[in-house]
Amino acid sequence: MFDDEKMKLLYKRMVMARQVEYGIREQHKAGKVRGPVHMCVGQEATGVGACAVLNDDDWVTSTHRGHAHFVGKGLDLNKMVAEMMGKATGYCGGKASHMLIASREKGMLGGCGIVCGALGIGVGYGLAFKMDGSNRVALSFIGDGATNEGMFHEALNMAALWKTNNVIFVEHNMYGLTVRADRHLSVENISDRAVAYGIPGVTIDGNDIIAVIEATQEAVDRARRGEGPTLIEAKTYRVLGFSTGDKGGYQPQEEIDAWTTPEKDPIARYGKYLVDKGICTAEEVDALHAEAQAAVDAAIQFGLDSPYPDPSVLMEGIFA
């Protein structure tokens, strides 16, 4: 799959994605991060695993719940956290928020706060890559709720019709806003919807990073060969609710408990995998965890220490 160093890096990234959210949650309570923040605790395998097979010049469109995508694509934690705090040192100078983080250098273009709002844009990337005769790929993350948007169907039809260089990666985390999937989806498996567009659709265990990597690799290879898009549905679970503004009460505790056991939790599972495969000792896994936590702590401090943007930038950059 990957060499041992990269396999370890992916573990570290999963922990960074999770711990940065817990760190941000603390800062949110302290008023240093504002507005609604959408956490992806429990969904680290999808973002980190899918991005692991991409290059910097492969472009990703994200969602409102993109922290694991950003970390997975190799974005700098300091600049991510600074952006979440609205600081001048953030990826977008503090203009974006956690929802709209972008890094052209790393091929993260980018976060999107409108459900399914970036899928058409992602297909536009894939179309442009195809027009250029390039084997670059655009991967678009969307959630289960997004597959009920008109844009999902319009964009998939065109991507399939023109065989654009795209991968559509659905993180099916069981809830759209506060509504459970069986109350908003007409199908049990979203991958079934691929049939309507004549493209491959697969359902995988989204809490198993190995399954995520394998499925994404196959889809990316297909797109690089010019054979068109693939729909991947990764079943996972949104542990912390819709956002920091979520009052909860609709996700049964038994359900949360069942998804957060060591056998289901994506980080615990991958840690065990690394040990079982002899890639790491248990102590080394702990050390990776500690390194990730240290990076998160440093990023939070970097964000806190960074200046806010100067008021003079308010009216700058409206037009190119």
Binding site: W59, A96, G117, V123, A138, A155, G317
Partner: protein, 324 residues
């Protein structure tokens, strides 16, 4: 100079820009094999080949998203939105993506993307194919809005729009495609954000957009016979708005009539009137008069449709009213 049709010079502008820059490509409904509902893209598929002129499925939202994505990825898409009435299907992409990504991504992306569309009534196209919805987009920071009334302006401004690195809504008019006007034989590009005085005068300024410029010019001609000298100002681009040309005219005539085909309530004429009232009030000798469509859906019947949008006679009456 040669006398040419509005629709033909739009086509010339597309050809010239596509020849100049291989990143320019066209997408939209009916534009490839059929050549466009208004014949603007006729035979361009044969001239430029695959991937340069693309028929799309009837999926206006995703067309817009795809154009935005292609623009960010280095292309210069020109999307034809056949009727402006359908632009509601694109609004999320225009308002939540195209208009703001350059700003919120802090300059990491640019969006050289043109949406060509056409609006306007008086073609018996009924309530869902006759509207003028430019105000929706003028309201949104980050989108340029162009509305040319003559072949000369249409060609020069379409070329400018394609070369611009921002999202541009380029609004044509279904009744203007068949109009003719003088157009230079040599290449030219017009500046975005510069109004044009279509007729000079001293008594009253009529600020008119799109097809209403033609009505205003006819009104001015008729009023001249009565000894009233009307200056017709065509903003040509609504965003950015050339306030200076408007100011010069208002300072000269001290009287203002604003006319457009969009509904009067919430129409862009209100913005122009407010700007004049805020910034040029001392130059006014009389209240501003606004003319727009009556606030009703555009009806089909030939007995009703002509009553909805302003015409030459309405403009004549408005000028006389402000000069009273």
């Amino acid at each position: 100079m040669s006398k040419k049709f509005y629709k033909d010079v739009l086509r010339e502008a597309l050809i010239e820009e596509m020849e100049r820059d291989p990143n320019v490509f066209l997408l939209g409904e009916d534009i490839e094999v059929y050549g466009g509902a208004f014949r603007v893209t006729e035979n361009l598929d044969k001239m430029f080949g695959p991937w340069r002129v693309m028929d799309t499925p009837i999926s206006e939202g995703a067309q817009t998203g795809i154009a935005i994505g292609a623009a960010i990825a280095g292309k210069r898409p020109v999307l034809e939105m056949m009727y402006m009435d359908w632009i509601g299907l694109t609004i999320d992409q225009m308002v939540n993506q195209a208009s703001l990504l350059h700003y919120v991504y802090d300059g990491q992306v640019t969006l050289p993307f043109v949406m060509r569309t056409q609006g306007g009534a008086r073609a018996s196209a009924s309530a869902q194919h006759s509207k003028s919805l430019e105000a929706w987009f003028c309201h949104i920071p980050g989108i340029k809005v162009i509305s040319p009334s003559t072949p000369y302006d249409a060609k020069g401004l379409l070329k400018a729009a394609i070369r611009d690195n921002n999202p541009v809504l380029f609004i044509e008019h279904k009744l203007l495609y068949g109009t003719r006007g003088e157009v230079p034989d040599e290449e030219y590009v017009l500046p975005i954000g510069k109004a044009d005085v279509k007729r000079e005068g001293t008594d009253c300024t009529v600020i008119a957009t799109s097809a209403m410029v033609l009505e205003a010019l006819e009104a001015a001609e008729a009023l001249a016979e009565e000894g009233i000298s009307v200056e017709v100002v065509d903003p040509r681009t609504l965003v950015p708005l050339d306030k200076e040309t408007i100011r010069e005219s208002v300072e000269k005539t001290n009287h203002v009539v604003i006319v457009h085909e969009a509904w009067k309530t919430g129409g862009f004429g209100g913005e122009i009137a407010a700007t004049i009232a805020e910034e040029m009030f001392d130059s006014l000798d009389a209240p501003i008069v606004r003319l727009g469509a009556k606030d009703c859906p555009i009806p089909y019947s030939p007995a009703l449709e002509p009553l909805t949008v302003p015409n030459k006679d309405d403009i004549i009456a408005a000028v006389k009213k402000t000069l009273e």
